[in-house]
């Protein structure tokens, strides 16, 4: 995972695109049971990029994306932003430890981070609205399960880009 040599714009484009797609995925018209277990794609992608490319996708980017998510979600401004900033920080801090583990082990390590992120969201929600929606935490489990496929996909894309840009 230390091969962060490839050209900068290629990675920037990939980061932007993946974040954009993640946002679109979270805006899909989820409802019913799916809405309850809806995984946070944006959190996953942000976590991945903050671990892989902390220079390109840091806390600032995460915070900005969070603001966009807040606007789209009609939640209070800063709610998602706070969560994503914390998540990006965790990704940056823990990147070395996590990058030494295999993907499946990573998923186990990522789960507490996601749980933390979801918990922050729930706590903020509780502070603002006065009640706790525990079911919301289910999303963290599903998100952790999705860590493996999302990471694999992004790695594949990253390698494809790198090889194509080197050619």
């Amino acid at each position: 995972m230390s091969d962060y040599q490839p050209s900068l714009p290629a990675h920037t484009a990939l980061i932007v695109t993946s974040l954009f797609v993640a946002l679109l995925l979270s805006w899909l018209p989820w409802h019913g049971f799916l809405l309850i277990i809806r995984p946070d794609f944006v959190a996953l992608v942000l976590l991945y990029w903050s671990m892989q490319k902390p220079n390109h996708c840091g806390i600032g980017i995460a915070w900005t994306v969070g603001i966009i998510a807040d606007v789209a979600d009609a939640s209070f401004l800063g709610q998602h932003a706070l969560v994503y900033a914390v998540l990006a920080f965790c990704g940056i801090v823990l990147q070395r430890r996590l990058s030494m583990l295999s993907l499946s082990q990573q998923a186990l390590q990522v789960f507490p981070l996601l749980l933390l992120a979801y918990s922050i969201y729930v706590i903020v929600h509780w502070q603002l609205h006065g009640y706790v929606s525990w079911v919301h935490l289910l999303g963290s489990v599903v998100s952790a399960l999705l860590w493996l496929p999302v990471t694999t996909l992004l790695q594949k894309l990253c390698h494809a880009r790198a090889s194509s840009s080197q050619r």
Binding site: L24, P54, F76, L77, L82
Partner: protein, 303 residues
């Protein structure tokens, strides 16, 4: 570990911790402002200008699918309802045909009524447009006049019997003297025994008088009086009145017989004018009355 990793990987001036604290505080401040003061609605609106189209875009496939689904559902429903309506239409068409027949029938009857095509008399329908203001003169004005071939002397009746006689004709109106007019006389016969007599108007609504009837005349209460056709003004056999009371006082030479007109003299609005006048040969100067009646030997009433 924090500092070393940040030093190695980050080209930013500030360490991740500092940045986290900064952005975390920023978020909290934003949250507080947004929750407490609602100052950020403008920013939110501006940002949603960018996010809204994207959200719409994401929702679109689902919506499209729903619309397509809807389209086919509606299509199917339309087909079935169309078939249903077709069936209903054929049923209704049959009923409509019946209705048309009925209507034609009705039209025919109406035209019959309008033309007054009766076997013996031609009539035309007229409507009362004015009534006489003088209460003694029992007269009404009809909306048919000389232009509709109304002639003086024609008889006016309703569907029950005689109402009066046309006494004056204007181009678009005709004046009808009702049989209840004080100066109006109708030659009548008693239907029961053919007794000829004259009936006079009393000037009172709904009352007629048989004057100059001898005390011994065979008149009973409930006798029906019909036109006798004598004098040629009124056609024969049209009902006129019914005897309601007979007073025989020996002190007077004549009986007092009161009748009520059979026709709704003061009730109807539409009346019929008999167009044909019975044509009789000119009356000779002699006193003999030209009559083709066989009931000559029956006692004559009055006059």
């Amino acid at each position: 570990m924090n500092s070393s990793s940040s030093a190695r990987y980050s080209s930013n001036k500030f360490s991740p911790t500092v940045r986290l604290i900064f952005f975390g505080l920023l978020s909290l401040v934003l949250l507080f402002i947004d929750f407490q003061y609602k100052y950020l609605e403008f920013t939110r609106t501006k940002l949603s200008l960018f996010t809204n189209p994207l959200q719409q875009l994401v929702i679109m496939p689902g919506k499209l699918w729903q619309e397509v689904d809807n389209f086919f559902t509606i299509h199917n429903r339309l087909i079935s309802s169309n078939a249903e309506l077709r069936q209903l239409h054929t049923l209704d068409a049959a009923q409509l045909k019946q209705l048309e027949v009925l209507e034609a029938d009705n039209q025919h009857l109406r035209s019959l009524l309008a033309l007054q095509q009766r076997a013996d008399y031609t009539m035309q329908l007229a409507e009362i447009i004015y009534t006489e203001r003088n209460i003694v003169n029992r007269k009404v004005l009809l909306d048919k006049g000389a232009l509709a071939n109304v002639l003086t002397g024609q008889v006016v009746m309703d569907d029950n019997g005689i109402v009066g006689q046309v006494t004056r004709v204007y181009p678009r109106m005709s004046e009808v003297t009702l049989i209840t007019d004080k100066n109006h006389t109708v030659p009548v016969q008693i239907l029961r025994n053919g007794l000829r007599t004259l009936i006079f108007g009393s000037g009172d609504t709904g009352e007629l008088i048989l004057r100059y009837t001898s005390i011994s005349a065979d008149i009973q209460e409930g006798d029906l009086l019909v036109t006798s056709g004598i004098d040629g003004v009124y056609p024969v056999g049209l009902p006129v009145a019914k005897v309601t009371r007979v007073e025989r006082d020996p002190a007077y030479p004549f009986a007092r017989v009161l009748c009520t007109p059979i026709a709704g003299v003061d009730k109807q609005r539409q009346l019929l004018i008999l167009s044909t006048l019975p044509t009789l040969p000119e009356r000779p100067e002699a006193t003999q009355e030209p009559t083709n009646r066989r009931s000559k030997n029956i006692k004559r009433g009055g006059k």
